[in-house]
């Protein structure tokens, strides 16, 4: 791709990703409602919510708390740009982690006991899912011999065939990433209440809207990584990504929240058994 094309693709991704993410969030709420035999809100509900939040008053404990949220948002946009222009997978993952860290810092800065608790739990969750995210990148490298997203996507090998363990492990930690039960300890969607509202307790109006939009970006990126496993067969990639998304919603509605010890322990066991195990198998077989 020429520089001009890269910029164009990045722009399209940055505009389209939140639209897709928001729509997925709407589908999530509708499906969840149907699973609970309710009618549910309109499909575009997340967009209505965000539009409303932009018109609410901003109340802060400290003005600087919003500053960190802007960075969270900016790095999430940056991550999306990186991923969809097909650049380095590792860089994408690091930018994604950095964005997450800024959200934790924002919650710490708000200095309320509730947002502290949310921030601490978010750090624990990050510790839980990060190993598996890195192993995913390593696994993709082992098969395709490249960390570049474009190369992985254009690889003629169907990654899922050689990396089934890593795929299952990645879907498992998606429950953390997309804030789904049983791992929605720090903050969750829907009407679940934790201790007040975890991470986002102290954020109001436009800032809360930015957090929400950043989350839409995040959804688009992580589902993009899911699609990479099936990139060799495009139609299969679409179907599989949709199936994974449905599965996550189903799990969200079936399970209750677990304690942090179990969340951390299970994520590491999954990373060790499925992630490392899969990598070892690939390493020795080839």
């Amino acid at each position: 791709m020429s520089a001009g094309e890269t910029i164009l693709v990045a722009l399209i991704a940055i505009i389209a990703a939140p639209l897709v993410g928001g729509l997925l969030s709407g589908i999530d709420r509708k499906l969840s409602a149907r699973m609970q035999s309710r009618w549910g809100p309109p499909l575009l509900q997340p967009f209505y919510d965000v539009a409303k939040l932009f018109q609410k008053e901003t109340i802060v404990v400290r003005r600087s708390q919003n500053f960190y949220v802007y960075f969270f948002f900016a790095f999430m946009v940056f991550t999306t740009g990186l991923f969809f222009t097909g650049s380095d997978l590792l860089l994408t993952i690091f930018a994604l982690t950095l964005a997450g860290i800024f959200l934790v810092l924002a919650a710490y800065k708000a200095s309320s006991p509730y947002s502290f608790l949310g921030a601490e739990r978010e750090l624990l969750l990050m510790m839980a899912y990060e190993p598996m995210v890195l192993l995913t990148a390593v696994g993709m490298y082992l098969v395709t011999r490249s960390f570049i997203v474009v190369d992985v996507a254009r690889s003629s090998v169907l990654l899922i065939q050689t990396l089934p363990g890593i795929f299952v492990g990645f879907v498992f930690i998606l429950l953390f990433k997309l804030r789904k039960s049983p791992f929605d300890l720090s903050v969750s969607h829907h009407a679940h209440q934790e201790i007040v509202r975890g991470l986002t307790t102290e954020f109001t109006g436009p800032t809360l809207a930015l957090i929400e939009i950043a989350h839409w970006y995040e959804t688009a990126v992580v589902l993009g990584i899911v699609a990479l496993f099936f990139a060799a067969v495009p139609w299969l990639a679409a179907v599989a990504t949709a199936a994974v998304f449905f599965f996550l919603i189903l799990v969200d509605n079936v399970f209750a929240r677990v304690k942090w010890q179990l969340a951390l322990g299970s994520a590491w066991i999954v990373a060790l058994a499925l992630g490392v195990g899969n990598i070892l198998v690939v390493y020795f077989i080839r």
Binding site: R29, R38, G40, Q45, A191, V196
Partner: protein
């Protein structure tokens, strides 16, 4: 979409102020599959900072007045308070209990009352739907107020303006009371009668936009000194130099004064700032209550 956003996304905060739980069960019932109030975009948030509509059930007692006020203060504008059930409306049979304040409106400005014992889910949903309309109205009001700085007219007020200035005074001093946690401030308790009497011996200045009074200050002469006081500006118009305009206008109304004096609370920066900008200097500080000090300011008029 922005215009209709409030109609489609009302987030609710539900608080039980010593209710028998009858109304609370009905509030929760409206979230169940049978009524599914999420159809209207309603989310039961549990966090005042995310809420638009405050549903309060039960009569208010002495113990939870403070909780109720805190929750209300933490809700961002625009916000609507709905009293659900007859206890929240009037205190019902409990209103004469030694520990009961009465309905929610003894503590908060209630916008809507949902009657019933217990209030039926249908009427609670009706209350929410009406609250949605009110939210939209309040938002529009916020917006028109904010966008019209250049149309503000500052000029003398007369006794006809007394009710409107009194209403504004109560809004502004509500903020002061929250700041000092002192609800005994005299400006909050002033009656219309007292206000009308003030007009007989004091000079009033008002700031008007679109026919609404959004700021005021008053003053009176004692010897060669003009005393200024109760500089009030509607919170939507803070930090825009309106206070300075009002003080300048009232100074001009006392051409014979050689000296100006005023006082503010020690934490009331938005009141202090206009005076300080115009060259008022602090003279002394005096304790008036547990949490509140008065700082006195004065300024000599420059010789012309």
């Amino acid at each position: 979409m922005g215009m209709r956003a409030f109609k489609r996304s009302p987030w609710v905060l539900h608080y039980d102020a010593s209710s028998c739980n009858g109304c609370d069960i009905e509030v929760v019932a409206s979230l169940t599959p049978l009524y599914d109030v999420e159809r209207l975009g309603v989310i039961n948030t549990g966090n005042p900072k995310h809420a638009d509509i405050f549903l309060v059930t039960g009569s208010v007692n002495a113990q939870n007045v403070k909780v109720l006020r805190t929750l209300y203060e933490q809700m961002p504008e625009p916000r609507v308070v709905v009293a659900v059930g007859i206890c929240a409306t009037s205190g019902c049979v409990f209103r004469e209990c030694y520990n009961v304040m009465g309905g929610v409106d003894t503590v908060l400005p209630v916008d809507l009352y949902v009657p019933g014992c217990a209030a039926r889910p249908e009427s609670i949903i009706d209350g929410i739907v009406q609250a949605i309309g009110l939210l939209e109205k309040k938002r529009r009001y916020m917006r028109t107020m904010r966008g019209r700085m250049e149309e503000i007219v500052v000029g003398p007020a007369t006794a006809i303006d007394a009710p409107e200035i009194l209403a504004l005074q109560k809004i502004v001093y509500q903020n002061e009371a929250e700041m000092y946690d002192d609800w005994t401030l005299t400006p909050l308790k002033q009656t219309l009668e007292e206000m009308r009497n003030d007009f007989a011996d004091k000079v009033f200045i008002k700031a008007v936009v679109g026919g609404k009074i959004i700021g005021s200050v008053r003053g009176w002469m004692e010897g060669e000194t003009a005393h200024l006081g109760r500089l009030i500006v509607h919170p939507y118009f803070w930090q825009r130099g309106l206070g300075t305009k009002l003080v300048t206008a009232i100074e001009a109304r006392f051409p014979q004064a050689k000296r100006f004096e005023t006082f503010t609370g020690q934490k009331s920066r938005h009141t202090m700032e206009p005076y300080q900008r115009l060259g008022y200097l602090p003279t002394r500080q005096e304790k008036v209550s547990e949490h509140r000090d008065r700082i006195y300011f004065s300024k000599e008029r420059e010789a012309e």
